[in-house]
């Protein structure tokens, strides 16, 4: 259920003292959701993978005072104590993604957006878990990024794209299925 997963992600991000807005949390959930749900809810958008449903639920949670957004500290905070009872696979994946972001010092919206974009391209081409040559993958990323209007990503130098590919593959390996 998306709603529970959104609240769980907000709770963990707050605990880890990570600043996050709508884009950041969209990308965290994109990286964490199982493939079926990623494909169901997300489309490639200007800022990377985007889910209208997640946007809708964030608004509704704000409207119903479950969460508030503080524009000064640029952060969501929970307004009620949410007891997350089930430690299901998706929640383990959310935790895995957030730990991964902390360990790899990925704190900016820009960095997580680029990571999510690369992850999305590799995922769409079944290249997250296989041994394609890095050069081919760099070419694939550049071509497809350009194709959907992710111009900044397509213009990144090879080293940066290679780094994002490695991060995506490591993340995919780290997360439980």
């Amino acid at each position: 259920m998306l709603l529970n997963n959104i609240l769980y992600a907000i709770k963990l991000l707050t605990e880890k003292k990570i600043r996050f807005g709508k884009t950041f949390i969209q990308k965290v959930l994109y990286l964490a959701l199982p493939k079926v749900e990623r494909d169901l809810y997300y489309i490639p958008y200007y800022y990377g993978p985007y889910s209208e449903n997640i946007q809708l639920l964030l608004r509704s949670l704000e409207f119903s005072n479950y969460i508030t957004y503080n524009y000064k500290s640029q952060n969501y905070s929970l307004q009620r104590d949410i007891d997350v009872k089930q430690e299901d696979t998706t929640k383990q994946r959310i935790k895995g993604v957030i730990d991964f972001l902390v360990n790899n010092h990925i704190k900016s919206t820009n960095k997580i957006s680029n990571l999510a974009k690369v992850f999305m391209i590799l995922d769409a081409n079944d290249s997250l878990n296989n041994g394609h040559k890095v050069e081919n993958l760099i070419e694939l990323i550049k071509k497809r990024a350009n194709f959907v209007g992710w111009i900044e990503l397509s213009k990144l130098d090879k080293e940066n794209i290679e780094d994002l590919i490695k991060l995506s593959k490591n993340l995919a390996k780290t997360l439980p299925n």
């Binding site: 998306l2 169901l40 449903n53 809708l56 608004r59 820009n110 194709f147």
Partner: protein, 494 residues
């Protein structure tokens, strides 16, 4: 205005109330004559709206021909206005790069026309109503006209021997929504055709907005067709469809008129009431036959979309039309006959209350969910309440959950997606071009953060509409409170 002879495409003509004449390429004759396409003559484009606007008797066949024609007109404009971008796209496509300029253009026109002609071929009788009814019913299947349409398109191309034509391959890729645009198999040409048929500004909307308006006898859907579709270009940044400055106002007109059509026609309360009524009839029939052999009479693709490829089921599909389905329902579900009669003679419930689901996140989550099983949980509870009210209090009510439409000024499509090509090859959003971009507004500036997507656009919303039998009208407040209680209980977030 004849356009196909320019590309050495032989054609024949049919009369059309919107475009006067529609040119149909000779290559399409076996497709148009195929039983799967001819079936669309018997599927009403607005089967429920005609209970409000009696002259709305046009078919999906007529609309499909219209979209085909408009797609070819638009493709012709892209050839004229964006030749460089189009050539770049041709050169990246194995299906096109081996051909010379003339053939490439001809195939491009044909691919656009075919995708337009076949974009609705998978529609069920009563179209979206049947799809919603599958969500309400306790079955593990959801009818998806796009998925079915894609399978039928492949079947049509095999039957007519054009499966290996370059333009057929483009059409198939454009209609196969399972492949998202990041997939390596989707070429720029595939994407352009897909955007033309299903994008922020596309020929499907371009045709139905004006055609439905014409047949309803309303003035809501009128825009300047030629001005818009002759002034479109390819945005070289991402191969999306943009408009040039001459077309910008008409892109806005189409968006606005479509909104007027939604408010006055597609979401008319009588249409919503009959939608709920028909969903109820179909669901009760589905539940009656779900363990019986004759369930395929009701939905020829009951278990999976692939079922349709079986010849027997395909024949059932051909007879699966608006009237055909009502007849089948009456035959297999005698208890529905009275309700079908009420539907046919427009003896319907009255408007009750509207509950905004934004205050009920859990209900909103399942209402908007793309997972059928999740969605069913709430719908089933509401249906249970409906039964309980009838049994215990003799109160008859009905409900419909509906996605609200955002006014176009605030719509992301207008604020961001539809692009206008201005001087120096620059592209800006339609809202920015027309000077009402929220990106530049004072409200936006107050909320600027380092978060690039921290927008202030209103989010889509879902409403729960309650309808009530005329004789129970004084009970609507009671029903509304009961439904709110149900939503509050449902709202427990663990």
């Amino acid at each position: 205005m004849f356009l196909l002879s320019t590309f050495e495409i032989k054609s024949f003509l049919v009369r059309d109330p919107i475009y006067d004449f529609i040119e149909i390429p000779e290559e399409f004759k076996p497709i148009v004559d195929h039983k799967l396409v001819q079936r669309l003559r018997w599927i009403n484009q607005l089967p429920l709206e005609q209970l409000v606007y009696p002259s709305a008797q046009h078919s999906r066949f007529e609309h499909s021909l219209g979209v085909m024609y408009l797609a070819m007109l638009a493709a012709n404009s892209l050839i004229n206005n964006s030749s460089k971008q189009l050539n770049d796209a041709f050169n990246q496509d194995d299906n096109y790069k081996k051909f010379g300029d003339k053939k490439r253009k001809k195939f491009f026109i044909l691919a656009a026309g075919l995708a337009g002609l076949l974009h609705d071929v998978g529609h069920a009788p009563f179209s979206h109503t049947l799809e919603h009814a599958c969500e309400h019913a306790n079955i593990n299947y959801r009818y998806n006209h796009e998925e079915i349409g894609y399978l039928l398109t492949e079947k049509l191309f095999e039957d007519t021997g054009i499966i290996n034509e370059p333009y057929s391959k483009t059409t198939i890729n454009a209609l196969n929504k399972k492949l998202n645009t990041l997939h390596r198999d989707i070429t720029p040409i595939d994407k352009i055709i897909r955007e033309l048929i299903d994008g922020p500004i596309d020929v499907d909307k371009g045709d139905y907005t004006i055609r439905d308006s014409y047949h309803c006898g309303t003035p809501y859907g009128i825009y300047d067709i030629q001005r818009l579709w002759r002034n479109i270009v390819i945005n070289p940044e991402d191969y999306t469809i943009a408009v040039n400055e001459k077309g910008a106002l008409e892109a806005w007109a189409l968006t606005l008129q479509r909104y007027r059509m939604y408010k006055n026609v597609y979401l008319h309360h009588v249409r919503n009431i009959t939608d709920a009524m028909l969903i109820d009839i179909i669901v009760s029939t589905i539940e009656k036959v779900k363990r019986r052999k004759n369930k395929l009479e009701l939905i020829p693709a009951w278990n999976s979309a692939n079922e349709i490829s079986n010849e027997n089921n395909l024949t059932k599909f051909i007879f699966w039309t608006d009237n055909g389905m009502l007849k089948v329902i009456a035959e297999i579900n005698a208890s529905a006959i009275t309700r079908i009669e009420s539907f046919l003679k427009r003896d319907i419930f009255k408007r009750g209350k509207v509950i905004n689901l934004q205050g009920y996140p859990k209900a909103l989550e399942v209402a908007a969910s793309k997972n059928k099983n999740e969605k069913f949980i709430l719908l089933d509870k509401l249906r249970e309440l409906k039964k309980k009210m009838l049994k215990e209090k003799s109160i008859q009510f009905d409900f419909l959950i509906e996605r609200e439409m955002i006014p176009p000024v605030f719509d992301k499509k207008v604020q961001e997606d539809i692009r206008v090509n201005i001087k120096d090859k620059k592209y800006v959003s339609l809202a920015e071009y027309l000077n009402f971009s929220l990106q530049n507004s004072d409200i936006k500036k107050k909320k600027v953060t380092n978060d690039t997507e921290e927008d202030i656009y209103p989010s889509v919303n879902y409403n729960l509409h309650l309808f009530i039998k005329k004789s129970n009208k004084n009970k609507i407040n009671y029903i509304s409170e009961e439904v709110k209680k149900l939503l509050t209980d449902f709202n427990t977030i663990a």
